[in-house]
């Protein structure tokens, strides 16, 4: 495992290996994330796709060390620039949080403290990692807001969150994540609560900033069209596992896993006008009573007796791995 697998993978910003995160509830152990491995290279954007409850957010929270009891990382490694985050003490981790690894949350209404002014919150975030005076920290906050395309940063700094629009609040939240020019940003569906035009603006601004600063970005979403426009690589999660991953071009154009194909088929598009959308039959399995073997087998048209066992990830094409016994293009069924 110490040898890099390919020259591209020489120094990934983030290298998650066999991560397992479980919630130990009274009703039983709930394996939210099972055996997830992924890499993000500097300056690359990874789209982490899946439906609600597929474990994509828990993966993000695990990387940042924000999983709370009764949840716990129960196995695997999270190597951030070669350092295993799962072995760090709380204070060592705090030193990285917000500084080298930042997170952007889903709901901009909730992530800013409602009773504190924007400047109070931003100055605190700056001074958590840099010994700046309040005035210098405010200056830095103002510059970062301007970077996010906020028109009059001084005025926004003096505002309370409830005085800002949803889009503006999310820009502020993203600016907070960018304050320390982190090496890695984990964005947990940050644009789902916004309308489409604001979403498009924010996506293009984030993409530009990430490219300029060489930041790695994990964009967690359930929206494949966002991934298609934003990301370089994509990992598709289902019931706590990554079922398919690879470059956006490979995975979205030539999906190999039946679940990925189902997701793409269920998107409306111009070419499918007038046709009924194909949907994936059935429901995602209950994580508390997971079937043995492939979790998707029950809903899968290709399922066979083999699927009663757990499929291991296989590299089906260079850079594209699939966790399925019957991979292949949709037509090859």
């Amino acid at each position: 495992m110490s040898l890099p697998e390919s020259p591209m993978a020489a120094n990934p910003t983030l290298d998650v290996r066999n991560l397992c995160t479980s919630f130990y509830t009274r009703a039983g152990v709930l394996p939210a994330v099972r055996d997830v491995s992924l890499q993000v290279q500097p300056g690359r954007i990874l789209g982490l796709v899946g439906e609600s409850g597929s474990g994509k957010s828990v993966t993000g929270f695990s990387i940042l060390g924000l999983v709370d009891a009764p949840g716990r990382i129960s196995g695997g490694q999270i190597l951030f620039k070669g350092q295993d985050l799962t072995r760090l003490s709380a204070s060592q981790l705090r030193h990285l949080q917000g500084n080298r690894i930042a997170m952007i949350f889903q709901d901009p209404m909730m992530t800013l403290n409602p009773v504190l002014r924007v400047d109070t919150q931003m100055i605190e975030a700056v001074r958590a990692h840099r010994p700046l005076s309040k005035r210098d920290a405010r200056e830095h906050a103002s510059r970062t807001l301007a970077l996010m395309g906020i028109a009059s940063p001084e005025e926004r700094l003096r505002a309370y969150p409830h005085q800002l629009s949803g889009g503006m609040r999310q820009r502020v939240a993203i600016a907070i994540a960018l304050l320390h020019s982190p090496d890695l940003i984990i964005a947990d569906e940050p644009t789902t609560a916004l309308d489409v035009t604001i979403q498009a603006q924010i996506l293009s601004e984030v993409q530009k900033l990430v490219r300029e600063q060489g930041t790695s970005l994990i964009w967690i979403t359930h929206d494949l069209s966002v991934v298609a426009g934003l990301a370089d690589d994509v990992a598709v999660m289902y019931a706590g596992r990554i079922v398919e991953q690879g470059s956006v071009a490979d995975v979205l154009d030539r999906p190999q896993h039946p679940y990925t194909q189902g997701l793409i088929d269920s998107l409306p598009s111009r070419n499918k006008r007038g046709q009924r959308l194909r949907q994936i039959p059935g429901m995602a399995p209950d994580l508390l009573s997971m079937p043995s073997g492939c979790a998707f087998a029950e809903r899968c048209s290709r399922a066979s007796a083999l699927c009663g066992q757990e499929p291991e990830p296989r590299e089906i094409a260079p850079g594209q791995t699939v966790r399925c016994f019957h991979p292949g293009a949709a037509d090859a069924q």
Partner: protein, 306 residues
């Protein structure tokens, strides 16, 4: 976006309106609450300035004349010629002066103990919510225990053990009252700590202590403020009760409660004023505080907000 923002004149843009300013504006929209607040301000002012505005220091024995004892309201002092507007008590004290001094003690004991109890209770509540586990269980059972006893009984027990005195009365009130703040602060902090802004702050690498004090506490303040206002009133009445029963403040520092107790024995001989006027002063103070507290509760309760 940018061009649009430039077109909007500065005057139209939102003024920075802090949540507290909104509370102040809404508070002022109720005439009764404003009256309550004004009365309270006057009472506090009178209490604070008492030594400079009274006609006699009621506890300087040199200024008292036993011959002036139990004069009816409106009587005139033969030597100096000033009028005892509210009469005099059994020792010949001017009741106006005695009430002003009594207010000083009552307010000092009430507000002082309520504030100290608020700080202690809030901190313990936050710690309890943050640490959780057996610390939380232990603290909250202690709170249950304290709240399940009748306050007056607990106070009598503690004072019987500690003895009289302003300091001891305050200590008793603090021991009784911190539990209210602790329970409220804990409940509120538990709710707040599950909010996403707390996760966001943790994700920014902000330490636990700063999150509790800097982020969670400000969001817990509204209900604590309401409790604080009502607890001040409660502390003042409880002190008055204890003093009336003879277990409160010493005779040398009489509060309103002790003044009422002193006049009580003369009630049956028709010298009603010795008890009545201190009682009225106490009543007005409590009503004023409660008016303010009620309005605060209406303004700060998110469930009652329009």
């Amino acid at each position: 976006m940018n061009t649009l923002a430039k077109k909007i004149p500065d005057s139209v843009r939102l003024q920075t309106q802090s949540p507290w300013r909104r509370v102040a504006v809404e508070f002022m929209s109720s005439p009764t609450a404003v009256v309550g607040l004004l009365v309270l301000l006057v009472i506090v002012l009178v209490a604070v300035l008492a030594p400079w505005i009274v006609v006699q220091n009621p506890y300087d024995l040199m200024q008292l004349n036993v011959l002036d004892a139990r004069l009816a309201p409106g009587s005139v002092n033969m030597d100096s010629g000033y009028t005892y507007w509210l009469g005099t008590d059994g020792q010949g004290r001017d009741l106006v002066s005695a009430i002003m001094y009594g207010l000083r003690i009552s307010l000092w004991v009430g507000i002082g103990s309520a504030l100290i109890a608020a700080v202690i209770g809030t901190l313990l509540g936050l710690v309890s919510a943050y640490i959780g586990g057996w610390v939380d269980a232990l603290l909250m059972r202690l709170v249950d225990l304290l709240l399940s006893f009748p306050a007056i009984l607990m106070a009598l027990m503690i004072l019987a053990w500690l003895g009289k005195g302003v300091g001891n009365v305050m200590l008793t009130l603090i021991l009784l009252e911190w539990a209210y703040y602790a329970r409220t602060a804990r409940g509120q902090a538990l709710t707040e700590s599950r909010r996403e802004y707390v996760d966001a702050a943790r994700g920014q690498g902000i330490g636990p202590w700063r999150i509790v004090v800097g982020h969670i506490l400000p969001n817990c303040l509204p209900p604590l403020l309401v409790i604080g206002a009502l607890q001040i009133a409660r502390a003042i009445t409880l002190e008055a009760t204890l003093s009336f029963l003879g277990l409160g403040v010493p005779v040398t520092e009489p509060s309103l409660g002790l003044l009422i107790a002193n006049g009580f024995q003369y009630m049956l001989s028709n010298e009603y004023w010795i008890s009545l006027f201190p009682g009225l002063a106490l009543l007005i103070t409590i009503v004023a505080i409660n008016l303010v507290g009620d309005r605060l509760r209406d303004v700060l309760n998110p469930r009652l907000q329009r």
